[in-house]
Symmetry: C2
Amino acid sequence: MALGPISSNLPPDAEIIEPMCAVFRRAIKAEGLKYTPERAQILDTIIEFDGLFEADQLLETIKERGHSISKATVYRTLKLLESCGIIQHVLFDREQSHYQLAVGNTGNTLLIHADTGEVETLQIPELIELRDRICRERGLKAQGHRLQIFVTSGK
Amino acid sequence: MALGPISSNLPPDAEIIEPMCAVFRRAIKAEGLKYTPERAQILDTIIEFDGLFEADQLLETIKERGHSISKATVYRTLKLLESCGIIQHVLFDREQSHYQLAVGNTGNTLLIHADTGEVETLQIPELIELRDRICRERGLKAQGHRLQIFVTSGK
DNA sequence: GTGCGTGCAAAGACTTTGCACGTAC
DNA sequence: GTACGTGCAAAGTCTTTGCACGCAC
């Protein structure tokens, strides 16, 4: 599946982005890790993406800006960011891993247009309720979720 | 584990399995393709799995039964089965693709235990309604979905 | 100064492909 | 008899790892 244009109605706004870097910095320090220029650059770029992205694309964008970070570092940093809860790993096809900023802890929903390959991001509050109810009934606690809805236009 | 309005599921029962093979056979013929012993064996094995499985595991099981089907054929058949709507491709981690029988066209929900790695399959009728409403509001038509909920036990 | 981080290239894991032979129809 | 299917091994993708050098703290 060739993914087309990715539109998002989840523009992370200032009040969310701002702390993002701080959270990362704090998380990193807490682990005795270092806040390197590479890590900062990667997070900055991700924030500007404003939606879904792929490791590949991240690497490309960084390169276009004249910076140079190795593939290995990008992957290592993505894992780190994920473990800090700053980004989420999203999988909807076999071809490639996608990531996106984790806005809050609310999980996310993707509307994937089966025909065009276009992907939209949504937040569905009812889904959280539904999810939590399901877990509660089983004595479980939801840590997060991913919902992918495959759609076709028209009809 | 029968809880409230949520029917836990996926032991595919006879009334579902039975037509499965017929559907496959018909779909295959319709495309001018052939119903080979390899394809039959693969579908049979999948049906017995009674839930989620990996390509790897499928290959292994077939081998244990004294049959021998190549990796390539397994992957090719999985794609075929997916395009016939008989199985669904499920992704919840990067490590490996998972597949499961597509029971109806209702999509599926996985409860993934973040701590133990255990995975349960559910059917959530309300989710279908929610999904369809969301699509309807946007002039779209849902073709299917996948929901993955990450949980931890206890509270 | 001491780890942790980085880049590079090689290694890995899963999946796909090319090709010649085999077989369902 | 004619496609289509299969097995094998090689090729591809994306991602991870090992290692020596470099830098944040």
